[in-house]
C-alpha cells in the first residue's frame, strides 16, 4: 500500500502510464506496436538517444544543462577515426572506442574546468564549447562522410539478436551497440547508487553548500561529471557511426534538445538533484515511441512537428506542475503538543 502510494508520487510513474496508454492507442490503430520486430526496432532507435540521455541526466542532476554532447560525440568520433586510420589500427574496434573516449574526456574536461572554475551557467558554457567543437570539426578539419575502419564495420554488420514476425514475415535485428548501452547503464547505475561519488552527484545537485560541509568535494564531482559526460558522448558518437555504418559529421548536431526534453519528461528536475536512470529510459522511450509511430498511426508528415511539440509541452507541463505541487506540500498542521 505504501509502495503504491510512493509510486504515484514519482513522475516516472506518470510517464509510464502515458507510455502504456499511447502504446495501446498505437496498437489499436496500427495493430503493429506489440509485434516483436517493432519492439526490437524501438529498442534500436533508443540506443543512441539513451546514451546521450546519460550525459543530460548527469549534468542536470549535478549542475545544469549540457548541450555540448552531440558535438563532442561528432568531434571525438572523427578524431578517433582519423587517428586509428593514421596509425593503421583500424582492425580493432576497441582501439577506436578507447581513442574516442580519451578525446571525449578531454573535451568534457574543458567544459568542466570552465564551469567549475568560474561558476558560469553550464548552458552558456556548453553552448560556447559546442560552437568551438563545431568550428574545429567542420572548419579546421573539414570533416566529411567517411567509411569506418574494418573493426567498426564488422561490429556494425554483426547483430545481437534477430527476430522475425511470424505474421508479417518482417524481421528486425538488434545491433551490438545495444550491449554498450546496457553496459553504460549498468556502470552508471552502479556508480550513481553504490559509490560515494555517485551519491555525491545527487548531493551536490540537491544542496551544494550542504554537500561541501558534509565533506564531498563539490568541484571534483562537477568536473568529474563533465569529463565523464565527454567520454559517454564519445561512446554514443562511435555507436551512432557504427549503426549508420559510416561516419556522418553533420548528423550529430541538433540532437541535444530532444534528449533534454526526454529526460525532463522522465522526471529529472531542471533545478538539480533529482533524476533516475529509469526516468531517462522512460522519457527517451516516450519520445522515441512518439516520433517512430506517427507514420504507423497514419499522421501526415506535415503534422508531425505539431504533435512532437505538443507532446513535449504537455509532458513537461505535467511534470512541472506536479513538482511545483510537491514543493508546496507544507508540513501538515500538527496537533498542539
Amino acid at each position: 500500500m505504501k509502495k503504491l502510494k510512493n509510486l504515484t508520487k514519482q513522475s516516472e510513474f506518470y510517464v509510464f502510464i502515458i507510455i502504456v496508454v499511447l502504446s495501446i492507442i498505437i496498437q489499436a490503430r496500427s495493430g503493429l506496436f506489440f509485434a516483436n520486430n517493432n519492439i526490437v526496432d524501438t529498442v534500436r532507435s533508443m540506443i543512441v538517444p539513451s546514451i546521450y540521455a546519460l550525459c543530460a541526466l548527469l549534468s542536470f542532476v549535478s549542475t545544469g544543462p549540457d548541450v555540448s554532447f552531440p558535438l563532442i560525440a561528432a568531434l571525438s568520433t572523427y578524431l578517433a577515426l582519423i587517428t586509428t586510420n593514421a596509425l593503421g589500427m583500424g582492425e580493432s574496434m576497441v582501439i577506436v572506442f578507447v581513442f574516442a573516449i580519451v578525446y571525449g574526456s578531454i573535451m568534457g574536461a574543458l567544459n568542466g574546468i570552465i564551469i567549475v572554475k568560474y561558476k558560469f551557467p553550464s548552458l552558456i558554457v556548453t553552448l560556447g564549447t559546442s560552437s568551438i567543437f563545431s568550428g574545429i570539426l567542420l572548419g579546421a578539419f573539414e570533416a566529411e562522410r567517411m567509411d569506418l575502419p574494418a573493426g567498426l564495420q564488422r561490429m556494425g554488420k554483426a547483430s545481437l539478436l534477430s527476430v522475425k514476425n511470424a505474421e508479417t514475415g518482417l524481421g528486425s535485428t538488434l545491433p551490438m551497440t545495444f550491449l554498450i548501452l546496457v553496459a553504460l547503464y549498468v556502470i552508471t547505475y552502479l556508480v550513481l547508487n553504490y559509490t560515494m561519488v555517485g551519491r555525491g552527484v545527487y548531493a551536490v545537485g540537491g544542496d551544494e553548500v550542504s554537500a561541501e560541509r558534509a565533506g564531498f568535494n563539490v568541484k571534483k564531482i562537477r568536473f568529474g561529471v563533465f569529463t565523464a559526460n565527454g567520454a559517454i558522448a564519445a561512446i554514443g558518437g562511435v555507436c551512432y557511426a557504427v549503426m549508420s555504418m559510416r561516419y556522418l559529421p553533420t548528423e550529430y548536431a541538433g540532437g541535444e534538445m530532444i534528449v533534454i526534453a526526454a529526460i525532463v519528461l522522465g522526471g529529472t528536475r531542471m533545478a538539480g538533484g533529482v533524476g533516475t536512470l529509469k526516468g531517462c529510459i522512460l522519457g527517451t522511450l516516450l519520445l522515441t515511441m512518439v516520433s517512430n509511430s506517427l507514420i504507423l498511426i497514419g499522421i501526415s508528415v506535415y503534422w508531425q512537428k505539431v504533435f512532437i511539440g505538443a507532446i513535449i509541452i504537455i509532458g513537461t507541463a505535467v511534470s512541472a506542475l506536479q513538482s511545483y505541487g510537491a514543493s508546496r506540500v507544507k508540513s501538515k498542521v500538527k496537533e498542539a503538543a
Binding site: 520486430n37 522475425k164 528486425s172 501526415s300 508528415v301 508531425q304
Partner: protein, 354 residues
Amino acid sequence: GTQEGGSKTTTTEKTETTETTEDTAETNDATSSDLYDLAKYKSTKDKKDWTIAVVTKDNTANWFKRMEVGVNEFGEETGINVIQKGPANADAASQVQVIDDMINQGVDALCVVPIDPGAIEASLKNAMEKGIVVITHEASNQVNTLFDTEAFTAKDFGAALMDSLAKDMGEAGKYAMMVAYTTSTTHMEYANAEYEHQKEAYPNMELVNDGAIPTCESEESIDTAYERAKEVLKANPDIKGFTGVASTDCPGIAKAVEELGLDVKVVGVGTPNEFKPYVESGTISTVKLWDPKDSGYVMCKVASMILAGEEVGEGTDLGLDGYNSVAMVQGDNRCLIGQADITLTKENINDYDF
C-alpha cells in the same frame, strides 16, 4: 571602388538605378525587363581578372566536394579566378548571407546551387542589377537567373526516376517516397514529378497513403531515413518500391529493406561510392544522378561565356560530354538542359569513383 567601376562599365546606368531604388516600382520593372539581355553582361576586364563565385548548399557534403573538383578544373583550364563558398549552416538564411557578401565583394559571376530558390530571388535580382552574371543549378523555377543549368529538368528527372522504379518493380504495386524535408524545394519537385508521371504512365502502380507526398522525411540523416523507411514498410508490408531523392535517403531505405528481409526495389539519387554496397547487394536497383563535377564546370563555363560576350542558347557546346549540345527550355527561366543523366546499376557502378 575602382574595381567595381572597372568591371561594370557596360552597366553603369543600371548601377545607378539601384542606388536610387526608392524611386518607384515602375522604374524597377522597366529595368528588370532588360536584366536578361546577355549583351549587358559582357565584361571589359581582362579574363585573368574575372572572379566567378560558386555558392553551394553545404560545402562539407561529398556532393559539393565533387563539384569543387569541377570548379577548380575549370579555373585551372582557363586561368579564371574561381572560388567555391558554402554557408556556415546548411540553411537558406545563411546562404543568402553568403550570396550577398559575394555580391558586395564585386565578383563578376555568381553560380548558385540554392537551398531554397525562393529565398534568394531578391539577392540574385540585386546581383543582376549590379551587372553580375547569375547562373543557377538545381533551380528550374528560379526567376532571377540568366541561365539555370541542369543535367535535365526536374520534371524529366522525376519521370526518369519513376521510369526506373516502374521498370524494376514490374510497373505494378505499391511504392513510397522519401524526401529530406517537406520544405526541401527541389526534392519536393522531384517527388511531385515522379507522382505525376506515375499517374500518367503506370496506372497499376500506387503511391501509399492515398498519394500523399511525401510518404516520409529523412531529415538529411541516414539513420532517420532508415527508421522512417522501416516504419513505412511495417505499416505497408506489401510495398514493392521505394524512392528517395536526397543522398541520405536510399542508404537508409536499403538498410531497412535488407534488415526486414523484404523484396522492395529502391531507386533514388546519390553518389556512387556511398551507394555501391547496396547496389552490389541488389537492394538499390537503380541510382539516378548527374555528376556534380560536371555541373560545377558547366555553371562556370556558362558564366565565363556570358562574361566574354559569347552566345549561349539552344545547341551551345559547353565542352563536356552530355553538355555538347544543350537544349534550352523557356519556363520560369531559361534553362540549359544537357543529357548528362547517369543511370547506375550493378553493371556500371564501378566505373564511377566519387
